[in-house]
């Protein structure tokens, strides 16, 4: 029951972040919303793991968080320096 409430909260948070990602006036808002969305998706996968019981989803959560972090760093370095590495 409480797990379902937590899933609903995370889904509403995802929808609000997608709205900010769509109508953010700057590129900074969009990168912030993207970083938020990757962490939010990882937490959603963790709560879904608690609901279903499949442990293998935790690896997917770790993978999603790693990909979100690396893409955030690549985007900011590209916007600041003009190159990634």
């Amino acid at each position: 029951m409480i797990i379902n409430i937590a899933l609903i909260c995370l889904a509403v948070a995802t929808v609000l972040t997608i709205i900010r990602l769509a109508l953010g006036p700057n590129w900074g808002d969009r990168i912030t919303a993207y970083d938020f969305l990757s962490v939010n998706f990882a937490l959603l996968i963790v709560v879904f793991t608690i609901k279903t019981g499949f442990v293998a989803f935790l690896d997917i959560a770790l993978l999603v968080s790693i990909l979100g972090f690396l893409s955030t760093i690549a985007l900011t370095r590209h916007l600041l320096n003009g190159k990634v590495l």
Binding site: I2, A6, V39, N40, G53, T76
Partner: protein
Amino acid sequence: MMLLLSWGVAQHPNLSEDALASPEAASHETVESLSTSLATDAAAEASAPETSSETSSETLAAGDVETDGAENTANDTLTRHGAVSASEHNEASSEQHGERVGPPVVNTNLAEELLILFGSFFVLAAAIGMLRFPDFYTRLHASTKLVTLGGIGILIGAAFGFNDVQVSLRVILIIIFFFLTAPLSGYMIGRAGYLRGLPFYKEWGSIDEWQALGSGSAEPEATD
């Protein structure tokens, strides 16, 4: 194929004794049958060298069965019975190993559910702040509350809810990764936004202290 079946018979510890009285004799017999089948295979290949691999394997199996039937019927039936019982036992053991196919039942206490509810409430609050704050920097401030409060609640609730060592180690790994990378990504986004000159929210009287101290960068060009 016959060699693999007899290897499975010889390797299996819980073999029934009536099916195979003497494993040394059975292995000796299978080695003999294998050598004779190889000989027949070589003869077939010598007679028809342009046959494909499928036909050679078919002749191998046929020669195997024929030599088995011709050589010793008693040992042959013994080994076949042993092989069949071994395969049945292998299926039974694989079914025994496959009992954990379904998802394990997760028993969560009230404390863990309250931790998860705490975390999801802070995730929702951070998303509302993400939508409602007027500025890029304040939105960045709201997004860092996601990891430190929402993430710690949900992940610690998950770590205590499973009561398993592997799950707890993975969740602790995710916690360490979040707490190492979230301040770094927030710092990088804020630095890029300030150095590229994203505009402040002027109605609250915000002051650029870095420029007021005189040690800031050149005046930030208004992009976007």
